[in-house]
Each structure stands twice: as C-alpha cells, then as structure tokens.
C-alpha cells in the first residue's frame, strides 16, 4: 500500500480543523516579476529554483518531484489544484511554470505563480507551528543559494503589496457545519475581519460554502513577525473551534440533524450516481456525524481523503483517463459506496 497523502490523515483537532497551510511568497532579486516576464525569463527562474533545491545537500531535496506544468495534461494539472498542491490560478496558463512537490504532497514550491516562489506547506488538522517551521526550513535552505528580494524596511518584496513583509499567509481549513447550520457565519466573519483575519468558503462561489468548508487566514504581513501572526491566528482559531463545538452539541440533539446525518451515510452507501457537489454535502454530514460520535466505521482522515478523491480531475487521474460527467458520477458513487461500506450509526 502506498504511503498516505497528508490529506488522507486526521491531525490535531481534526473534528473541526481539516488542514493547515502556510505559504511564503519569495522573489528573486535580479529577475522581473512573472507577470512581466517573457517565457525564456520564466524558464530561467524555473531552472534556478529547481537547481537550488535539487543541488542542495539537504535530505529534504531528495523527496521532491519536479513537475513542469507545460508538460502536464489539463486533467493532471487540475488534479494538482484539487489536491491543494497548487492554487487554481496557477494552472490557468501553464507555460513557463513548474512545481516542486514532496512525496506525500505536503510541501510544494510553485514557481512563477504571482511571485517567483510560493513555498507551501500543508498539514492535516491544526498544525500551524509545525507547518510554519517546515516552511521556514525550506525558506532557509533555498536562501542559501537564491538571492531573495528583501528590503530592510519592507521585508520580503512581493508583486502584490498585501504580501509585503513576511510574505507569509497562514490558513486553516475548518469544517463549520455548526456555525453554518445555525446561520452564524456572517456575524463570525465580520468579527474576524476586525481582528485582521478573513474567513471564506474554501470551495465554490457565493455565500454558501460547499461542504461547510471554510478557510481562515491571516491578512496582515507587515509590522508583525511570522510568529506573532501564527500565534494570533492560533488563538482566534481556538475560540472559533470552541464556538463551533458548542453549536454542534446543540444541533446533534435535534432529530432533524440526526436524520440528515444518518441519511447521508445511507445515501453514500447506496447511491449509484453522485455529483461532486452532492458528494461534498453528504461527506460533510458524515464528517460531522463521525466527529460527534453519531456514526462509526470510518476514520475522519478517510473522509478527508474522499473529499479530495471524489473531485473530478482527481477521480480521472486515479483512473488514468478522461471521463464524461455521467461516467464520473458513476465512478464517484462506486468509490464512495466502497469506502463507506462499514459506515453505520454508532451503537447507542
């Protein structure tokens, strides 16, 4: 059996915290920003960054695969975005871009995204400090070879001024069916923005987050150290998760929610066709049921994995071929039926 990907595991506080992401924006002092660079200038940056990592003596470098985006099929590129290895924007135009990705897919370095480098570390559950430390280690390693654009007043220079300073954005993917189900999201998001944090749906457009998944991120990168930003985010996330848990407790006493959760398990076990958005909603209910002890027979890490695997491009990448929507819906239902076989109501 292959090693589990980071997103197939459950971590600290996994009942609410799905994953942690820390990313650092870095640029090379003597290269123009990707938005203004031509193809050969971009390719030179790719080459330089790749060499800095691959030629380093660190044991870390041996774990990385180099993926030149231009050589990937659209489907393989889309699957990278579904697995959170790259940003959705990164794959829109694939020329002159590349990504370095660690074996368990938890560390990636996007080359020629908005900035020359976007060092990204992902971890299951709540793991801000660990993720920040890993990102820092890679930053240090690359900094031994690469000459990063840095100003003593402004810190790391980035294309977009909102990233100036630390260049760090730390995010938590949070599963918030309690706050969302009780209609509290608008109030919570507004309070958080006063604290310099943003909360928004992790997937999909508009006000309703697909599968009740939200991204909580720091906004401020200037005038505050990486550690301060991480500690600030960590403290507020703790409060938010506590509030989520209280709403869940009340919800789980309600017959209507017990019914929805139990049905979600029944539908995942029986459906023969399922769209991606329905899968996200049903898995969200099952995740809630498992976290609150109402369901058993499946691990939360497995649910996290299914949420990723049931997305269209990753589903096709798994099969190694393109599929029409109808066939994807069939294959997705089959995957979920198999995985949820043992899922059942917890013994009273």
């Amino acid at each position: 059996m292959a090693e589990l990907k980071w997103y197939e595991k459950a971590g600290q506080n996994s009942d609410v915290a799905v994953s942690t992401r820390v990313r650092l924006a870095r640029n090379l002092r003597r290269a123009v920003f990707p938005a203004r660079a031509n193809l050969s200038q971009k390719e030179a940056v790719v080459k330089e960054v790749r060499a800095a990592l691959m030629n380093s003596n660190s044991v870390l470098s041996r774990e990385f695969r180099f993926l030149p985006l231009g050589e990937l099929s659209p489907q393989a590129a889309a699957s990278l975005a579904e697995r959170h290895i790259v940003s959705p924007e990164f794959i829109a135009d694939r020329q002159g871009k590349a990504v370095l990705v660690s074996e368990d897919e938890s560390v990636s370095i996007m080359i020629n995204e908005e900035d020359h480098l976007r060092i990204q570390v992902l971890r299951e559950g709540l793991a801000l400090k660990e993720a920040a430390e890993t990102a820092d280690r890679i930053d240090t390693l690359l900094g031994e070879t690469l000459d990063f654009a840095y100003d003593k007043d402004f810190g790391y220079l980035t294309q977009c001024p909102t990233n100036l300073g630390t260049g760090m954005r730390a995010s938590l993917m949070l599963h918030l069916p309690g706050l969302s189900g009780s209609g509290s999201m608008a109030r919570v998001a507004s309070n958080l923005s006063k604290l310099g944090l943003t909360l928004r749906g992790a997937f999909g457009e508009g006000s309703k987050a697909v599968g009740e998944m939200y991204q909580l991120s720091n906004q401020i990168t200037l005038g505050l150290s990486e550690n301060q930003a991480i500690e600030n985010l960590s403290a507020i996330a703790g409060q938010l998760m506590g509030e989520e848990k209280r709403f869940r407790e009340a919800m789980c006493q309600e017959a209507g929610w017990q019914d929805r959760i139990s049905r979600a398990a029944g539908v995942l076990k029986s459906a023969r066709l399922m769209s991606g958005s329905e899968a996200a909603e049903q898995l969200s209910l099952v995740r809630l049921g498992l976290a609150e002890g109402m369901l058993e027979g499946l691990e939360i890490g497995e649910v996290n994995g299914l949420m990723v695997q049931s997305q269209p491009a990753t589903l096709m990448a798994r099969e190694g071929r393109g599929m029409e929507e109808k066939e994807r819906d069939r294959r997705r239902a089959e995957l979920l039926r198999g995985a949820c076989r043992e899922l059942r109501d917890a013994e009273a």
Copy 2:
C-alpha cells in the same frame, strides 16, 4: 404471530397488481336510502343487516366482527379507511353507520354508506374471479334473509344511477412506475376510458399518483353481467400490465433509475424521520426494485404491508395512542428502518 392481513401478502402478478377489490351495492326494499334516513331508521338497517349475517348458519358469519362506527375513535376509524376496509367518505360522519369485517380484513360490509350495504371483498394481487365469487357468496347468504331492492329491468336499485344494474364495481390497484415514469399515463387513461374503464391515482389529489399507485375500475354496471364486466377488466388489465412490464425493463437498464432504486433502499434503512408521502415514494421505488430483481431481502407482500402500516392513523392505531406529526415521522422511520434491515442490492 398474528395471522397476516390480506394486504401483507403478495398474490398473482404481484409485481404490478397490488390488490383486487370487488364491491356490490345493495339496498333494502323497504327502507329509505341512507342520505334521506334519520338516525333511528339507519340504526334499524344496521340491526337488520347485522342479524342477517350473524344469525346465518354459514361458517362465514363466525369470522366477522361488528364495528359500530359511532363508538370508534376518529383515529381507529381513519385507520379502517387506510386499510381499505371502508371508504374515506364512510368515516366522515360516523353516526348510524357500522361495518362488519372479517378477521383477515379481506371482507367487509359497510352499512349505510351511500347504499344500505356495500359488500366489499379485497384480495392481494390479481384475483378478480376469486374476489367476485366471494362477494357473490356473501350476497347470496345475505339475500336469504334480506329483501334487496331489485327491478327486473334495472337490476339492483342503488342510490346513484351509475351503480344501477349489477351494482358491482371491480377495481385493481396497480403499481405503475413504468408507465408513470415514462409519461404515458394521460394517453393510457384516455384509451381506457373509451373501453369503459377508469384509471386514476389511488391516493392523493391531482395528476401525480402518490407512490405510483393507480386504481383501474369498470364503469359500466348496466346491460352487462358481472362475469362479462370481470372478464373485460381482466383482459384489459393483462394488456396494461404487459405494457407496464415493457416500460420497466427499459427503465431498469438506465443508470438514473438504478441509482434512485438503490438510494431508496439506503434511505429507508437509514432515515430517522420520514413523512408519509416520502415513505410512499421510497416504498414505491423499492417495490419496483424487488419486482424487477434489482433489490433483495424483502418480500413484495411486506412492502404492501408497510405501505398500509406507515399511514398516519394505522401508525397511531398500532401504538394505541395519538401522536403529533413529528413523532409519527420518527415512529414511521423506525418502523421502516427495522423492516428494511435486510434490504440490499441483488447480487450481480
């Protein structure tokens, strides 16, 4: 374990034919029609009919219970209608009415419905001849004592002229998801009406029949013998059932229907709250799945029984107490979960 009620069994052609009903309208020559009778006149009719059955020497009479409607709770009366023992109209005003009902609930005699007597015989599946024979036997038995209003030209006299003649209405309850799902009902119903038959939703109002259950009945009672009417209905029902089966075969090849059927089983096994109309729809899909060999682990007769038992008044009668809608939805889901425990996709 109590003897099964007729509606808990499956009979001939049970894949499509749920049940057969034959009813005879009879009136006493020397009494005014129920609509014009006062309470004491009605009570005299009740007494006379009861005595005619109970005092007869036939073994049949020993199986009957006498239920004076005025002494029943509204809930017990409603459950009689849900079990098809009496017509829904019969229980609207309960004074001066009674019903004689056989132990397995397959034979009932409503006293002071629209006519003085409505002799009704119910059978599982397609059993027109058997039902007509039983009705004839009871008619003969009662006719030995009672003086039925009969005219040599018009036959049996009834309050409504549409029943004049044989006074017989034969009906089949048919499960028609194939014809209904393919949008053929309007065409079929229009063709049948030209043949002197009516086809309409067995439950509910409007064009959509709840649970895809339809009632096919003869319309003509004058100028045609009971046997001719039965044979006519029987022949046309045979064609209709054949057409239904052809539509089902095509449907069951479709991924969308396979999905709906398999999900229905999953939902019935997992839901913790279920409305009566949802139960009818899910049971209809499961009935189709069992009949076409796509599901297993439950008998069609059991599905027939669940369709009756999951109706509100019968659900309350079973518990022996009144229940609010929310509690009924909970109890109904519990009943269905338990009964559908073994329901599963058929082995490929």
